[in-house]
Amino acid sequence: MSDELLDTCERVLRLVGTDAEAEVTLTFGTESLTRFATSFIHQNVADAVQRVHLRLALDGRVAEATGNQTDDEALARLVRSTLDAAQLQPVDPGWPGLARVAEAPAVEHWDDATASAEPGERAARVGDFVAAAGDFESAGFCSTEGVTVAFANSAGQQLSGRSTTATMDGIARSGTSDGSARASSVSLADLDGAAVGRDATRRARESADASDLQPGRYEVILTPSCVVDVLGFLAIYGFNGRAVEEGRSFARIGEAQFDPAITLTDDVTHPLSVGLPFDAEGTPKRRLELVNAGVTSAFVKDRRTARALGNGESTGNAVAGAGSWGALPANLVLAAGSVAPDDLVGAVERGLLVTDLWYTRILDPRTQVVTGLTRNGVWLIEDGRIVRPVTNMRFTQSYLEALAPGAVRGVGSDLTLVGDATFGVGAYVVPSLHLASWNFTGGAKG
């Protein structure tokens, strides 16, 4: 498949000719998702993905186009219309040129069986989840995705790769509470619908008949799902080279902006990661340390932001279709600690165990103040013991302050792949965190 796609890429580059700089990406594969609610499968879809993306620069005049037809006539039409559009554009002074020839890391997160998974295999896992929930109503999804991507540019760079991801994600509902659980892997075979269902059901049972808690500042244990949310905002508004360039980022290289327990990398080569070893501009990804023991050490760049910042190469973090957002890490890895999740709870004097964060939105990117709510299970912890479930709460909290020096009391050993990062950009590998303070500003009921 990869060779065929690369041949098509070359065909497109030949159609463009030698007057323009050009890069072309072809994506083929299948994305399938089986969705259930009120304990039955209600939506079940599959999409034979087929996509071609072309970006070209004609004497610095830039245009890009995407299409989903790859016959000769359609490709010729795509090239012609993109060239026509570029000719009408002004020169783009920020055009950074094309990625140079460079090899991508020899990593492939791929499983044949997942790429060709049948609807019945997903439905079986859903059935196992529903059965595990017993009398509790259940909802969620099981998805499989397998894509092959080929990239070529007129500077001679050629890369191809493929990636699979499978996710089982659901909630059980007791009538007064919801409990969630999820699992992701490169391989569907790793996903046990019954185990995920049991976990969600336990949370729903243990959070039933919750009572209100006075708003205020509390210690928190954040599960990996919550930690991904925190890192997502730091990535989009902080470690993003464009945010740095525009002066909107908090990131200051060399400063101890985080607790020493925080070491954060972007690392597609991590064994738990998923995704491709190169970015949308054909730049190979590499392991990039963003925070080393609390000290900010780098931010991510695509070719445009690297040029604008004038201090080096792209870090391989260009995201297709996200040009105006800038560069984003797709494979964040937060280094695990040595504390088992139960022991994290044991270290809390008075605080909350939070399963999920919900509808989080930033109030100010510089200070990283975010508001949102808890969801799918919150419990009060006193003297190291869970004492009772509490109702959902709204918070307004600076994510930067939450991870500031002295603010991280424990890092879990439970390194977990969370298959869908905040706003859907990539998948992160993270442990649970014990944080000293989280500002709950009200109960969800008002």
């Binding site: 009120t38 499968i41 209600h42 830039v62 890009e64 037809q69 919900w358 510089r366 200070t367």
Partner: protein, 468 residues
């Protein structure tokens, strides 16, 4: 149908999208996207199967139908109660949105010059980062169903936005125009011309800079709050529109988008807001972003009462959800955002009908309060009950006059309590059909285009100034 489905439909969509971005006086990106393909939907028992392909050959179309039925059979292995569909008149029809100036035909240079000029002006007036962009969508779709529908539609949409960001010592401030999401409609390029981006560029850049030194929004447990129509559009979208989606009410979105605080047994009797509150979902409004001729199940567009005199009376629905809820007909609110997405319940034009006050009168009638406008942040719980919204800008209202500008204004509330405090409503001359081009919902994710007619409103006793 030959594969055992009780109902099936097929939709071909040919969609084109063009967007351009300018930053600080330079064009930074032009993207033209096109996709064409077929999506087939089959119903077996309680479950849908859906398969999409970009291959439009007869063989591929037949294979897609077979695949959709196979997926539906897999759905039936974890069954619920058999789904039925509410009846709908079977139509063979053509519909298209009206445009005066085809946005795809406007020269790229004309469009680019507009964005460059607007961003240059913002920079000249104090913006550290000035952004402007436009989007144009041109979609043709054909629907056929096993019941005999044969409907084709041509829908053209466009709009634009711009914003100015300034960086202070420890914060950033931003002003957007016409709103945080711009302004979009099922109209031609005349909509963008009417916005007068360049004429408003200097003002928003200066306001953004002024915000850096403005006092913080005071923290008050209860005050009178006047909200401009742009922020009201967001308020309606989040706390009314999503709450009345029938798939959410039925629990179909429980694990992801969430459910709703509304209980179907209270339809027709529950007080949602004050008597001034009248909300409709009306896909027939000319030029509004959520307008069309037929939804993606072939149900003709028609106005649906959602809240009448403050009482909850209607929901956004499709043929399956309406049948399950015991409603007599579909609300005609089912759409998919491309050939490869399963159509689902989406907002049409969910909006507030105008009253007889005005922004000016609201300010005059307020002794001590705050006026906020232009959405900046939005967060609401999974039942669409508890919200906290932030705006880009606010002003103190003292003794019936607009006073000092304030920064970082936020307000929070609980849906029915908040809407119950509505006591002044802007008039028809202030009625604006705001368009939201980026409403996310569904798994896999879909982006919906929705419209929100709104007017300025006043609410009593609202908590403002929540801070981290």
């Amino acid at each position: 149908m030959a594969a055992g489905a009780s109902y099936a439909d097929a939709r071909v969509m040919d969609g084109r999208h063009e967007s351009m971005d300018a930053r600080n006086g330079e064009i930074e990106g032009l993207t033209q996207a096109g996709s064409v393909g077929l999506g087939v939907r089959a119903l077996i028992g309680s479950g849908w199967g859906f398969f999409a392909t970009a291959d439009l050959t007869t063989e591929a179309a037949q294979a897609a139908g077979t695949q959709a039925a196979a997926i539906a059979r897999a759905s039936a292995s974890v069954p619920g109660k058999d789904l039925e569909l509410t009846p709908v008149d079977v139509r063979q029809d053509h519909w298209e949105s009206a445009v005066k100036e085809d946005p795809m035909s406007v020269p790229l240079a004309t469009k680019g010059d507009l964005l460059v000029a607007a961003t240059q002006t913002m920079r000249e007036h104090g913006a550290d980062v000035a952004l402007a962009s436009y989007d144009v969508w041109d979609t043709t779709k054909w629907l056929v169903s096993s019941e005999g529908h044969r409907i084709d539609q041509h829908i053209r949409e466009c709009g634009a936005q711009m914003n100015a960001t300034v960086n202070g010592e420890r914060e950033t401030q931003r002003r957007s125009y016409p709103g945080i999401r711009g302004q979009y409609g099922t109209r031609g390029w005349e909509l963008v011309r009417e916005m007068d981006l360049e004429g408003n560029a200097a003002r928003i850049a200066e306001e953004a800079r002024e915000l850096l030194t403005a006092p913080e929004c005071p923290s008050q447990a209860a005050t009178d709050l006047i909200i401009g129509s742009e922020q009201m559009a967001l308020q309606i979208h989040e706390s009314v529109g999503h709450a009345v989606e029938l798939d959410r009410i039925l629990g179909w979105e429980a694990a992801f988008a969430g459910t709703s605080w509304l209980d179907l047994t209270q339809l027709g009797s529950l007080r949602f807001g004050s008597e001034l509150m009248n909300v409709t979902a009306d896909a027939t409004l000319p030029g509004a972003l959520g307008s069309f001729g037929y939804d993606d199940e072939g149900t003709p567009a028609h106005p649906v009462d959602i809240v009448k005199d403050g009482i909850w009376v209607g929901a956004l629905s499709g043929r399956d959800s309406a049948a399950l809820a015991g409603l007599s007909e579909s609300g005609g609110a089912v759409r998919g955002d491309g050939y490869n997405r399963l159509p689902m319940v989406r907002m049409t034009n969910v909006g507030l009908l105008p009253g007889n006050s005005s922004l000016e009168k609201m300010i005059e009638a307020t002794d001590d309060g705050i006026f906020m406008d232009t959405n900046r942040s939005w967060s609401i719980d999974d039942k669409r009950l508890n919200f906290q919204f932030g705006c880009e800008i606010g002003w103190e209202i003292k003794n019936g006059k607009r006073g000092r500008m304030i920064k970082n204004p936020t307000y929070t509330g609980i849906g029915p309590r908040f809407w119950g405090s509505l006591d002044m409503l802007g008039n028809e001359s202030e009625w604006t059909f705001w368009g939201t081009p980026n409403c996310g919902k569904g798994q896999p994710g879909q982006v919906g285009h929705t419209g929100h007619p709104s007017v300025p409103c006043r609410f009593r006793g609202v908590r403002v100034g929540v801070r981290g």
